[in-house]
Amino acid sequence: MAKRGGEIEALREVTREAAREPAPQVDWQRVESKLLSRIESSERSRSGRWVYALVAAAAAVLLVGLGLFGGGDAPQARTAPPGVTTKVIGPDVQGTVNGSELAIGDRVVTKNREIEVDHPGRARWTLAASSSATLADVGKRLTVRLDQGAVVSRVVPRKEAESFAVVTGELRVAVHGTVFRVEKRGDRALVEVTEGVVAVGPASAERTEGWLLRAGDQGSFTLDGRTGTVQRAPTAARDSQTSEVTAPAPTRVTAKRNSPAPAPLPLTPTTGEIERRLDTVASHVARCFDQNTKSGDVRVTARTRMSAKVAPDGSLGALAFDPPLAPDVHQCASGAARSTKFPQSQQGALVERTILLGP
């Protein structure tokens, strides 16, 4: 029989110890500086929006009155209203734009060619053709808001984490590294990391938490930053600078007379191909969850991260769930998903997706 007693004294004692425990050291200078910087940014953008709204309203009234109001092709470079510091750069700007001369709210617009913006010592970002982006923050975390199209960013490594970020919708991709590409495609954002590490997650959080993507990884995320599919680079791709990469086994091809040589397989399946197959797998999992979850009058939902290896031949390896699903559900899902075939590739892929189950 377990010993009992002493709990009261122990609770009192540990409470006293916890009450005596000092708070950890805080870098007050940094906290104060960041706090005042955020207050200042918030004041500037608020007063800018307010003044812009007032002037824009007045301008609209004037234009309507003069009968000059009309539509135009988008995206058109707009002339900033008087008294407002935001400006629009592009689409015909020549050379690299000096980021130090930009302020919060300034917008870059491209049409037929890309525009490069350089923030000396911090980052260089290239806005693809037919894209638009706004400079959202110039403080400790240099932030670009991608409104349309795609941007490639190359970031100077700094001691502080998240020194640079790209925001699109409610999703933030923050740098802990390096070279990465963010594309807004419909209601999703595609992220590819070439060098270093980025964190991807909801922009509403002060610090970006969610997925960590390293060199060679690709991901597709909803614009609220809460759901995503990540395709991991094989370990060899990440370690290619320091270790030998084993060449994949050659694919046997039976050549027919007068037939053209088969196209080489891609290194990994494309994100779009993976997305479509994962949609099928996710629907199998959802069906198995519904069939094997007896809930009566209670509504049962679950949120889990599903991961699996896709072999070079396109077959799907064992499914893993975190948190785990009930054994019946897992077994049913694994059986149903086994028939899903991914495209062939040289290296296969490691894929993950967060799924919501239940009504």
Partner: protein, 252 residues
């Protein structure tokens, strides 16, 4: 989504000084501090600092921050436990203070109002953390690797506090909040009631159940079970009755 407690941002009106400190609300006058609805008292230095901040003095907010930052840091640390988000949450608290200080009417002590803001920001932070997708890669450990080894007793005490924080984490938000405010911050139930905006009886009830639950969970943590064995049973043979009695212990 948590209920909105603090007022949303309002744009500043034309003519407002482009000043990174508080919104101008009313010109500084003879602010009379009212404590707990009793007779008026002359404004103290602390009240005057708040008034200066409300009237838009840039320096005043900085002074306010420096005067209260340690208290806020201590409370955030006690409510969240060890976390790498401490500085972020402290920042968030004072950001909310800056946004909402014009709404402080002086009907309670400023410290009470500040604690209320802090508690609400911490609770929102915890809720936001629960809804975030988890990292695929584990974040780096928060334990520094270059710290010299501690004496055994300090190691044991550290382990007990870590275990205690784990137990606290298992309480509901409401029970944990009142336990932290009373047992760790030393606040009386009357003041806690103003902070959590609940009746005093409700505060006492939550405290009762918090103590009982912690005592019952204690043995699930080996470090605390060892402490319980070391300190021995209470004088009462029936330890369940002892737990009840402790839980009912009148809060000071």
């Amino acid at each position: 989504m948590p209920a909105a407690v603090l007022q949303l941002d309002r744009p500043s009106w034309p003519g407002a000084a482009a000043d990174p400190s508080c919104h101008p609300v009313r010109p500084a006058t003879n602010i009379v501090a009212v404590s707990d609805g009793s007779e008026s008292q002359p404004a103290s230095e602390a009240d005057q600092l708040v008034a200066r901040c409300q009237s838009g003095e840039a320096v005043a907010f900085r002074e306010l921050f420096r005067a209260h930052r340690a208290d806020v840091a201590r409370l955030v640390h006690r409510m969240l436990g060890p976390t790498s988000d401490l500085e972020d949450v402290i920042q968030e608290v004072f950001l909310q203070v800056h946004k909402s200080i014009k709404d402080f009417r002086g009907q309670s002590r400023f410290s009470t109002w500040l604690y209320r803001v802090t508690v609400n920001v911490v609770l929102m932070h915890r809720r936001a953390q629960r809804s975030r997708p988890t990292f695929v890669e584990q974040p780096e450990s928060l334990v520094p690797s270059d710290v010299a080894p501690l004496p055994d007793e300090q190691v044991a005490r550290r382990a007990r506090i870590v275990a205690f924080n784990r137990l606290l984490d298992r309480l509901t938000e409401k029970k944990r909040t009142v336990f932290v405010l009373h047992e760790l911050e030393g606040m009386p139930p009357v003041e806690i009631a103003k902070i959590v905006e609940a009746p005093v009886l409700t505060v006492r009830t939550r405290l009762f159940y918090a103590r009982r639950e912690l005592a019952e969970l204690l043995r699930e943590e080996p470090a605390l079970a060892a402490l319980a064995d070391e300190l021995g049973p209470s004088g009462d043979r029936d330890s369940d009755r002892a737990v009840e009695r402790e839980a009912r212990r009148e809060p000071s």
